[in-house]
Symmetry: C2
Subunit: 321 residues, 2 copies
């Protein structure tokens, strides 16, 4: 059993949950069911969510973090509702302007952290710097890196490329004194290439990049399946290579890196993919526990404060002629 | 021989080009070498490019279009320099605010057109509408579609998602009367999924998406190669499936859809990937010829004019309560 010392508060319909729990003897004494009469559905409009708000299992789960009954909240529900409720109940950290969603991304070298993948639809230079602070704390916590490498996503590697936000953020990060190795700008293919451990971008670009990569990976696998089933030799080859192909599937299994983390709030919320199964949800539980054990929030607060101390010098560097 | 009626003006160092041409008897009478003493190098800074400007083969190639000696210019050189020189010599079409670079993208259903993939770093609603006009003309010309489907890239499909630019563009396109089937917003995974024939986005997002997809495809292929060479059975399987795997490689061969097209100027410029070979460059030649035969520029001008006629009604729709 993983995480034997961890306890779970399960918010939801007790009439549904209790019979399911009764079948899992190992969980006895580790799980406490808290009845919630309502739930947020995937198709709910913001107005419906606000109306049912406080009676939903989602609200209650976040509330247990804001009341310090739980260290982290985990949900596979409606992302927009989860973010709205987390913002309302946990509030942003004093030093962070906007929270972000961080995701783990499989790469040629292992895994990288990419943020923001969708909490915001834009980001100015200071906000991108906040994302860098949060992303490096995440990388130290979940990937166990002491001094992660970090890059800002852009349309070219040269200093003159991109918009004001990315250029301004790069200028601040060069002298920010964060516990990172800042590598300047990276491009789209550097994400899966694993060029850096942390990729910083605005939530619009990050969300499009994440989904575009999923689509491209699916396309290649679709082509591969088509190629292997089209001829007899291909089918025979697929039989011999079935172990190798299964390894490929495991490597690309989205369940292995399941979970986006809302960072920048007074409490951590992990969002599991809605369409995942037990294995995928367990990965999200792993990630949630990693975040708590590594005390990511304290790291973010400390690093942001260090950076703020240097701010006057940085500001004159950015604004000066 | 493809395109027997097409003639080529070859701009460059005649001392290099003439001996190469002498070896290709079939090209006799179809290729005219125009000596250019200078060239734009990949690493050239804008200041160097401007200084050598008019003496470079790149400038001369575009000049042959502006002087109506050629119908289309083709280059595998420095993209930034090519765009700058094309803008200077060909000028934007009167009705188009900003030119865009369009790319063909392999999908589950065939190929789609994506633009802008890097001519601009941002785009407002009106500019996205221009991209839609140019993209559908491209799709009709190169993909041979009568009424292409078109979507705007966004972080969700709901009308309320995204920034002002994408929402404004969607509102205009709903009533624009273009020869398209407008399908609203699409997400990153819809590009490779082939949900629509034309995907419209700003040049920052489009460039990141294109490179991110390339990186993700490379990652999957790298995993596949690793999986097939790690065990004896995998290697045996790869031998049987070698025909199928070769088909996969052909399908994913970036040379097959090589070439970004600069649209929105008084003349067409096609950019081939710098690292390509003869086969890839031939694809770019094919695309250049398709663009001329289909008379893409006239289509753009006519559709933009139709749209402008409807503009007063559209404007009141956008601005009204």
């Amino acid at each position: 059993m993983r995480h034997p010392s961890v306890k779970f508060l399960l918010h939801g319909d007790e009439a549904e949950l209790n019979p399911l729990l009764a079948k899992r003897k190992k969980l006895a004494g580790r799980v406490e069911v808290r009845h919630a009469p309502e739930r947020v559905r995937m198709e709910d409009k913001p107005s419906q969510i606000v109306r049912r708000g406080r009676n939903t299992s989602m609200w209650r789960a976040i509330e247990s973090v804001s009341k310090k009954e739980a260290d982290v909240a985990l949900s596979a529900g409606n992302t927009g509702a989860l973010m709205a409720m987390a913002l309302l109940q946990l509030r942003p950290l004093d030093s962070i302007d906007r929270p972000a969603i961080a995701a783990l991304w499989p790469t040629m070298r292992g895994q990288s952290v990419v943020l923001d993948v969708g909490a915001n639809i834009s980001a100015d230079a200071e906000q991108l710097v906040d994302f860098a602070v949060m992303g490096q704390a995440f990388a130290r916590a979940v990937l166990g890196l002491e001094k992660p490498t970090l890059g800002i996503l852009n349309v070219g590697e040269e200093d003159v490329k991109g918009n004001e936000s990315v250029r301004g953020a790069a200028q601040i990060l060069r002298t920010a004194g964060l516990p990172i190795e800042f590598q300047g700008f990276v491009e789209g293919d550097d994400i899966s290439g694993g060029t850096v451990d942390v990729v910083v971008t605005d939530g619009f670009t990050g969300n499009v990049a994440l989904k575009t990569a999923e689509g491209a990976a699916k396309l290649v696998i679709g082509y591969l399946r088509g190629a292997l089933t089209r001829s007899l030799l291909g089918k025979i080859g697929a039989v011999f290579a079935s172990g190798a192909l299964a390894a490929l599937r495991r490597k690309l299994d989205p369940r292995a890196s399941n979970g986006g983390v809302f960072l920048g709030l007074n409490g951590i919320v992990v969002k599991s993919h809605g369409g995942t199964d037990a294995l995928g949800f367990a990965s999200a539980v792993d990630m949630a526990i990693d975040m708590v054990k590594a005390d990511v929030i304290s790291k973010i607060v400390a690093d942001r404060a260090n950076l703020a101390l240097r701010a006057p010098a940085v500001a004159s560097g950015v604004g000066g002629s």
